[in-house]
């Protein structure tokens, strides 16, 4: 990584790539890392989509004022109309209300799970990488085992034993089973940083290990942590939706996954009720796509070889 020669304690984030011209034009008090991300077209588009859905989730009560989106409000199997923007389910529930309120649970579960996954991954990955010795051996073994165990089947089996877990349990199960990949990536980055001069300097000064890990090493891999976090959120949103879609979540909760589950259960595909599964599915897809875009953007900003497409032409 190109940050290894950064002075101790300085918080460097994503390598700032600022074009001199635009830097002069933009005078807003925006931190460098955010500016370089917003200058990347892919990342900016991703952030725009994500902000849009976050606003929907935040203002769900204003957009679809209903106390319970699972309530039956009209005749069943209605195609989209002025009354019901996204039509109604076979039982007569308002799909628009479900999609708007579902945004809340689905995105909350996604972001909370992604964050918990990263906390576990940071703790295990950085400890293993920095401390070394038998602790590293043991933690790496655990990480590799969790990495190799097939995630979705394991989650399904646990969900099967738990008998229709609610959103909170889903967060727990997903977090416990899915931290390994990020932990491995962070560990190898820690191994590289551990031998850099600023860490050696901190050690000579007598800083305790936990301080070196938290304040010297961690800030120097922010871009890696952020992209792993986004990947974890994406994984959590898709897996949660998948679990609920196959009927292993709480069928009474209002989320995008359960709306899809009821659509499938009511044979929406075979009766042509496309409005019951296209809107929630598209929401999941768009949120997923926005996260992917942001990660591509971060990848391009931090990996200089992926840039300068127009200058290189054929790669020769």
């Amino acid at each position: 990584m190109e940050h290894s020669n950064v002075p101790a304690g300085q918080t460097t984030v994503v390598a700032p790539v600022i074009h001199p011209k635009s830097a002069r034009r933009l005078r807003l008090p925006v931190p460098d890392w955010l500016r370089s991300i917003l200058h990347n077209r892919k990342a900016a588009a991703g952030i725009a989509i994500l902000v849009f859905f976050t606003l929907i989730a935040l203002f769900a009560n204003q957009l679809a004022p209903t106390r319970n989106a699972a309530r039956i409000v009209g005749p069943g199997s209605q195609a989209p109309s002025a009354d019901f923007l996204f039509g109604t389910s076979r039982q007569g529930q308002d799909i628009f209300a479900q999609v708007v309120h579902g945004a809340r649970t689905s995105m909350a579960v996604g972001f909370v799970t992604g964050t918990v996954i990263m906390l576990i991954a940071i703790t295990i990955g950085l400890t293993a990488g920095y401390v070394g010795g038998w602790i590293d051996e043991l933690l790496s073994l655990i990480t590799n085992v969790f990495l190799i165990l097939p995630g979705l089947p394991l989650i399904i089996v646990v969900a099967g034993w738990l008998n229709r877990p609610g959103p909170f349990t889903v967060v727990l199960v997903l977090s416990v089973t899915s931290w390994a990949y990020a932990a491995r990536v962070l560990r190898s980055q820690t191994l590289t940083l551990r031998n850099s001069e600023f860490v050696a300097a901190a050690r000579v000064v007598g800083e305790p290990s936990w301080r070196i890990i938290m304040f010297e090493i961690l800030p120097n891999m922010t871009s890696l942590v952020v992209s792993a976090w986004i990947g974890a959120v994406l994984y959590a949103i898709l897996t949660e939706a998948g679990l609920e879609f196959i009927g292993l979540g709480d069928a009474n909760a209002v989320t995008w996954g359960t709306t899809l589950y009821w659509a499938q259960n009511n044979q929406a595909l075979l009766t042509g009720n496309w409005w019951t599964f296209i809107p929630p599915g598209m929401c999941i897809a768009l949120v997923g796509f926005s996260l992917t875009l942001i990660n591509y953007g971060i990848d391009e900003i931090t990996n200089p070889r992926l840039q300068n497409q127009e200058h290189e032409g054929d790669a020769k």
């Binding site: 190799i148 979705l152 399904i156 089996v157 196959i246 899809l260 075979l270 599964f277 796509f289 070889r305």
Partner: protein, 324 residues
């Protein structure tokens, strides 16, 4: 060689941990699954069968370590118990039948997806900014960000329900007799597999393509590529034997892992298309509280993944002399 021996040791540990998890997860939940099952299947299970099931699970009146060893012993003898949903078939038989369908569908589709995506990635890196790089890659990435099952539902709705190009569900036309010798049956199987396989290929390809492209771009900056070109080697040779061979290494490991995910991903596809593979049976087992089948399938998937990873290690050693 030492590398492979070490890896084998690791796989043994991983397998033991999976088996142990399989043993302890039911014990962390409240109640005894066999009794719960009995309550559900009142009248369908004889007390004798129940006792046999308890013993297979190791749920006997004994200290927990003895239960654990009883369980291990049964596993080693290939005794996974009796399925409830497919009563009275033994779990191994149900798994065997289902596995054939999954391997045929998901196995083939994953390989096609990997090979196709990797080749496209090689071209995309070689011709930066051209068609494959600037049109195909974003398109596949867009599809790849979709939830697996949603793509499957959409395609099923458009291609099978709307346009009627493909059958709606099942692995073959149920009105035809199962006979692998008859061309009619084989055609029916192929027709039914085409759409599910297509959904797996199209959702998986973007990831392979992007990974390979980015690895290739990294490798293309190396000195030995310049050297190979300076020597006047043909483009094709530089691209495939110099750049691609080195760039594919990370993908190979990923491919082995994806075989495990293939079964998981195929699980959702199998559910949308009612395809009688492992995933479909796993869900039926979970919904029907068929714990022996559920545990059997989980163990089987895990062992298959471990085996796939071992094969990837062998390929890795063959591709990368440094690992020998």
């Amino acid at each position: 060689m030492r590398f492979l021996v070490r890896r084998t040791g690791f796989y043994m540990v991983a397998a033991l941990i999976a088996i142990t998890l399989n043993f302890f997860i039911p014990r962390m939940m409240s109640g005894d699954p066999v009794t719960a099952m009995f309550a559900r299947f009142q009248g369908r299970l004889e007390p004798r069968t129940m006792d046999a099931l308890r013993e297979t699970f190791g749920f006997v009146d004994a200290p927990i370590h003895e239960q654990y060893f009883t369980y291990l012993q049964n596993l080693l003898q290939g005794n996974f118990g009796t399925s409830i949903t497919a009563f009275p078939a033994p779990v191994t038989e149900v798994i065997g039948n289902a596995l054939v369908w999954t391997l045929r569908l998901a196995g083939t589709a994953t390989i096609v997806s990997f090979v196709g995506g990797t080749l496209l990635g090689i071209f995309a890196a070689w011709k930066r900014g051209r068609f494959s790089d600037s049109v195909i890659l974003p398109f596949l990435s867009f599809i790849g960000a979709f939830p697996y099952f949603f793509v499957a539902m959409l395609l099923l709705y458009i291609l099978a329900f709307g346009l009627k190009w493909f059958p709606l569900s099942h692995a073959y036309d149920l009105s035809i007799r199962v006979d692998w010798g008859s061309p009619e049956f084989v055609m029916s199987v192929l027709q039914h597999a085409a759409l599910p396989a297509f959904t797996i290929v199209i959702t998986g390809m973007g990831g392979w393509m992007l990974g390979m492209r980015n690895n290739m771009i990294g490798v293309l900056g190396e000195d030995y590529i310049v050297m190979a070109q300076a020597k006047g080697l043909s483009d094709r040779r530089v691209m495939l034997t110099y750049a691609a061979r080195n760039a594919i290494l990370p993908s190979v490991t990923g491919f082995a892992m994806s075989l495990g995910f293939a079964i998981g991903g195929a699980l959702l596809t199998e559910i949308v298309f009612s395809y009688p593979g492992i995933g479909f049976w796993l869900l039926s087992a979970v919904n029907g509280r068929d714990y022996p089948l559920m545990q059997g399938i989980f163990l089987m998937i895990t062992l298959a993944v471990l085996l796939a990873n071992f094969m990837a290690d062998v390929i890795y050693v063959m591709l990368d002399p440094r690992a020998r």
